[in-house]
Symmetry: none
Subunit: 241 residues, 4 copies
DNA sequence: TATGAATGAGTGTTCATTCAT
DNA sequence: CATGAATGAACACTCATTCAT
């Protein structure tokens, strides 16, 4: 059922078939809910062959992440027009990004939703990919700031946060576009440019948004009555200064 | 061992203990990897009691989602200063949001990472919460547009996309703040305001970002099917012109 | 089928039933060939219960070894008449030993044949039991030597080898008695006493067996043509000086 | 990788390589834990070739047993000096035996530990070898009895038991020598001669060991069924009177 | 109100064995 | 003579769920 069992394929080909099937299943079900049985069946092979070629569920997942992370970064890289201005580069990169995630929704779900959920290993693998993209965007923002040359450069930490916000917004929009009928990659990219770029522009021209004065120290008046059953391992940020 | 078995509690209290434990375990492990055994042990009760009160793993998860979604929306609602201007309201709402997610990282992980991953049912439940927040943000944006009254109002669809982008950026920043040492809720909120508000302002004052003219219809020249597992370790960012 | 499923037993009882079944299966099949399914079925319970009570196949095997090793040493200890002469004690001890191994053939097979075959852990556990018995026999031989008082005492190393030989002979005879119809525990014990004791007596009275003079250094003229495919991990004794 | 694939060997040679590898793996791992994969890899050939030449795991094991059993009996036979007295023959035979087992520990483990553990078939094959050796020893004992000619001959059944005990003791000592650093074949043989021969001599000269009178029919007063898992860490040996 | 005892159905993983070349 | 490709059947182990008390 499905792939049509063409027998006796060379290893490299079979391996790609398995990765295809695995990405599909991992993307739709998540790591834990994905069963090796389903992956093998979708790949049109028996389970032992999957293990022979890819060792274990963990290794298989890892291989999927690696392949798809590489594919995504390459797609973005290939989509960027090198000679353009910063916003032109961002625009083309975003279009490539949304285009790729729209074409490979399972891969995107796998990378964005599931890989960060299971074990440091996988999280680290996607984090590496993400870091690459964030670095790229950071460069773009810095370059745009230079071009605007009204401020010499934005403070480092500020840029990091902005790049993070931009990439995060892109990721969320990719989810949204993937879940919403009739939203094209181009529209998603335009929305994000609209949303983000002009604001960045203001920033760069020295007109940042400033928080209003406020006397009271802390929001969240809800006393949060739920008594924690046990301490969460590591609550990172405990409140605003 | 662990929670100190205080026996014979009234049902309501026990139920909350169970939900606390469940949120903690679901948030840290994910739905599939969470085991009813661990939840029961962390709650300090026996497994049958969990089933007696909460029926099934699915129902338990659902109850967790409901409680935490309600808690989050209430926290945001309570944090918003009603009399303020649109950006003042957004700022206070964001602070409440980041503050709450920082204080309840397991709950946030459960809602944002895990609930959307398993079955339409849970996804719908978080979607409802999200829709509430998006609606609120949409109102704010529309109100801001009215205040600016240079354009009568932004087109509906546009506003939806922008609200989506804003909320998505907020969610991503919440993840990021939760994972990064030393980022406070206030800082996260400020970053997002900086990033977004001025851009929105430009939009509202009639200076949207416009895409450049381009002849070719779609990027992604990579023929894509089965990107071979092997080569291309080349990094994305080569520098901005 | 089989054990008659009497339901809802207290844990301690069920645990012993499981150990009984496990000893039987391990003894007959060996560690590797024993399946948890068969053990569970023979015990009249489902597999998960076996895991709930005994954790893993390894732990189950370990528990079996522990219980049966204890049972064997206790049986021997209980069988020895304390007030008797050395040979009287040996005789009664041997009878108890052969009696116990004959009554619990599966346990004996498990301890003697299988436990030494799988992993240092199990080997060490039986080795501890064996060491106890060897120590007991060593004492007896030394005591007999003192009683004979014609030689002050046998050299330490010599006694160790003799005790080892005696225990080894006993073990082999236990196997033999277990495999041969119509050989009783008493007969096996008598055979071993006949075989060993008088020889020991001679030793103690100063008439040891002495090897004949021989010029040539080494036997084994067979050139052993088989070319080893790979070096055995550790060939212990490479020949006689 | 590993054995260095020298291709195109004549069948007989390849077959011996496979048997070498198989003996090594079977001896170290046991029958069940040995994998055809490991054997094939150690032999430096592909798995199908192993099957082509040796049919199945069972047949392979059988072939190993056959070859090594033959090698052992031949080594013993070749080691015996034909013209000697009975004890001289035994001495030389034992030296050859211990020498061979020391040189081929994997083979010895395979024959003595593992082959008796799996199925009647293999047990029968080693039993045949063993029977040959027992018969040889029986001859020697009978011959010695004739030489001593004080008793016409020991009763048949008695001799069988004694030969069994001697061979069993030899086997146990072989294990012991293999596991104990610094015990040579010669020492092991001497120990056994010391242990056994003088005792046999006494037997032959009409001074057997006789059991003491005893009224009670059978020891083992322990009620035995299900010795509770818990107590009694008391050691066996409390001292000899 | 609360639990110790128990299981059906499934998971990832391995292995002896066989084709097709 | 020799192997890369492939699998059916089994195994150890886990989990959500339910009874009987």
């Amino acid at each position: 059922m499905g792939a049509g069992k063409t027998k006796r394929m060379p290893r490299a080909v079979r391996e790609q078939q398995m990765l295809d099937a695995a990405v599909s299943v991992f993307g739709r079900r998540g790591y834990m809910a994905a069963s090796m049985d389903e992956i093998a069946e979708l790949a049109g092979v028996s389970k032992p062959l999957v293990y022979l070629y890819l060792n274990s569920k963990d290794d298989l997942f890892s291989a999927c992440i690696g392949r798809e992370a590489r594919a995504l970064t390459e797609a973005v890289r290939a989509g960027v027009r090198p000679g353009l201005s910063a916003d032109g580069q961002l625009w083309s990169g975003l279009r490539a990004f949304f285009s790729h995630t729209a074409r490979h929704p399972d891969a995107w779900r796998m990378l964005h939703l599931h890989a960060r959920t299971h074990g440091e290993r996988f999280a680290a693998e996607v984090a590496a990919m993400r870091a690459e993209i964030v670095a790229f965007v950071t460069q773009l923002i810095a370059a745009a700031a230079r071009d605007a040359h009204r401020v010499p450069h934005l403070p480092e930490g500020e840029v990091a946060g902005l790049a993070e916000a931009l990439v995060g917004a892109a990721e969320s929009l990719a989810d949204w576009a993937g879940a919403t009928e009739g939203v094209t990659a181009k529209q998603a990219a335009a929305t994000l440019m609209n949303f983000a770029w002009a604001g960045l522009g203001d920033l760069m021209t020295g007109r940042p948004w400033t928080p209003p004065e406020e006397p009271q120290p802390e929001p969240e008046p809800v006393p949060d009555p739920a008594p924690r059953a046990a301490p969460s391992p590591a609550p990172v940020a405990q409140g605003a200064g």
